[in-house]
């Protein structure tokens, strides 16, 4: 088994080395004449307004959150799927309860609108157009 996973290791290494070698090779032939404008960030031809490292919409966190929970659940289903046939209905009911609980939670967040990408968050209403 370990030998199989050492293949993975070889692949990971080779992938990294390949990227590195290509970039190094590129360094031999590619030009480099950086200047300040060239290194400035692209923003459709305008000068960037501030930097982009600002706080982001919390919606993304909610999605990630629900995903993580599901992800964990799903991981448990894999061992189940492997033994499921040999164990029969017992395993089925076990997992039905397992999934049932999860589905209840899922239904709850669905119902509460956590899955919606709410368009107007209330805190959005911003000053008028005349600000600058």
């Amino acid at each position: 088994m370990l030998i199989n996973f050492s293949n993975v290791f070889v692949f990971l290494t080779l992938g990294t080395v390949f990227v590195a070698v290509t970039l190094l090779l590129g360094r031999l032939v590619r030009p480099a004449d950086p200047n300040l404008i060239k290194m400035s960030n692209y923003e459709c031809g305008e000068e960037p307004i501030g930097h982009s490292w600002i706080t982001f919409n919390v919606r993304f966190y909610v999605i990630a959150l629900i995903f993580v929970i599901f992800d964990v659940e799903v991981v448990f289903l894999f061992p189940w799927a492997v033994v499921f046939r040999s164990m029969g209905w017992i395993a089925f009911w076990d997992v039905l309860i397992f999934m049932g609980v999860l589905l209840v939670g899922f239904a709850y967040v669905w119902k509460m609108g956590d899955l919606d990408w709410i368009k107007d968050l209330g805190n959005l209403q911003e000053e008028g157009e005349g600000d600058e």
Partner: protein, 372 residues
């Protein structure tokens, strides 16, 4: 610690951005994907046409009107020619009038094809865009036959058209008219009634009739809001009065009246109508002069006129003041897209970035006309 503004990210979309249709710049404030305000910045294509008009003679300005709304140069030529003719009191021969209508309507089709295509491309479907351009090439060929250019025609002149239509034009145009309507059906199957497309456009950026009036919106965008106003029918010029065509209005088929999908669909319907008009006009053509007698040097009497015509993007108006010399004293261009764009800040609150693209695309603005 950054101020309260840190919650919002300011991004400038454009001037070089794939879906701002030229060089529009939108300064948007976003909270994640949701926009809280949009400020359009224009003028990146301001070429000073109004000033140029004061410095060239009347006929010399015609080529510049080509560059006003280059997707519908014929219509721009037409509106300008009509303005000067009104000032000069020239009566255009009937054949020239019919040719003008043919050209204007063909150009309307080709302009709407771009509108249709670029909106689809903005929505991520690139193929309809190329299909649209493929059909457009056909029309370009027709125009090239008539006037020798593919985009900037300079064909409709003061007093008529520059040359009579060449032999073979009518047949080719008929061929196009046979070829084109099935394509519209194809577009509808491919994209118009695609559920993703509908989802993206329905109920987005609804323009209510009051807003449409307030913001001076005209043309298909106005009709999409359910107001049947079409200068071709309501203030007929040329031979439009004799033609039989419908003015489609938005009915809110997929959402509410005046949403982006309605605006999109207006263009599809109008292409059908335009094809119908061209067909009628081709049948009406009878021999005659292609231009009225126009003196070599144009010196209109002092006076002011305001003439408007129905362009693919709305009402194009020329407000012309003459002081009796060979050059216009003041030529003011009332561009439909300019007024249309001014509603964007209002529409673009609380929508998402992707919707913004849909809004701009469905309004079908064109920058040289806005910036002039």
């Amino acid at each position: 610690m950054a101020g309260a503004d840190e919650k919002f990210m300011q991004v400038s979309m454009g001037p070089q951005h794939p879906s701002t249709h030229g060089v529009l710049r939108l300064l948007v404030k976003t909270d994640g994907e949701v926009l809280s305000s949009i400020k359009p910045y224009i003028g990146y294509l301001h070429r000073g046409l109004e000033k140029i008009a004061e410095r060239v003679t009347y006929p010399q300005f015609t080529p510049f009107t080509d560059r006003l709304d280059y997707l519908a140069s014929m219509n721009c030529n037409l509106a300008y020619a009509m303005t000067v003719e009104r000032l000069l009191g020239i009566e255009v021969p009937r054949r020239a009038q019919i040719i003008r209508v043919i050209m204007a309507e063909l150009n309307r089709i080709s302009s709407h094809l771009i509108a249709f295509g670029s909106l689809s491309a903005d929505m991520g479907a690139f193929t309809p865009f190329l299909f649209g351009i493929r059909e457009r090439e056909f029309i370009n060929d027709l125009f090239e036959m008539a006037c020798g250019a593919r985009l900037t025609y300079n064909y409709i002149r003061i007093g008529g058209v520059s040359q009579d239509i060449p032999g073979g034009f009518i047949e080719k145009a008929r061929e196009f008219l046979d070829y084109f309507p099935p394509k519209i059906k194809e577009y509808n199957d491919l994209i118009s009634y695609n559920s993703i497309f509908i989802k993206r456009l329905a109920d987005i950026a609804v323009i209510r009739p009051e807003d449409a009036f307030d913001y001076g919106i005209t043309g298909p965008n106005l009709r999409a809001s359910g107001i049947p106003w079409d200068l071709r029918r309501d203030e007929p010029y040329l031979v439009y009065g004799e033609l039989d065509f419908e003015v489609p209005v938005g009915r809110g088929e997929m959402g509410s009246t005046g949403d982006a999908w309605d605006r999109y669909m207006m263009r599809i319907y109008e292409m059908e109508q335009s094809a119908k008009i061209v067909r009628q006009c081709l049948a009406m053509l009878e021999p005659g002069d292609h231009t009225a007698k126009v003196p070599k040097v144009l010196k209109p009497p002092a006076g002011e006129v305001y003439v408007r015509a129905e362009n693919p993007r709305g009402e194009l108006g020329f407000y012309l003041i003459s002081d009796g010399s060979t050059k216009p004293y003041r030529l003011r261009i009332r561009a439909p897209s300019f007024a249309t764009l001014s509603i964007v800040p209002k529409l673009g609150k609380g929508v998402m970035i992707a919707d913004l693209v849909a809004i701009i695309g469905s309004l079908d603005i064109i920058l040289p006309e806005i910036d002039r």
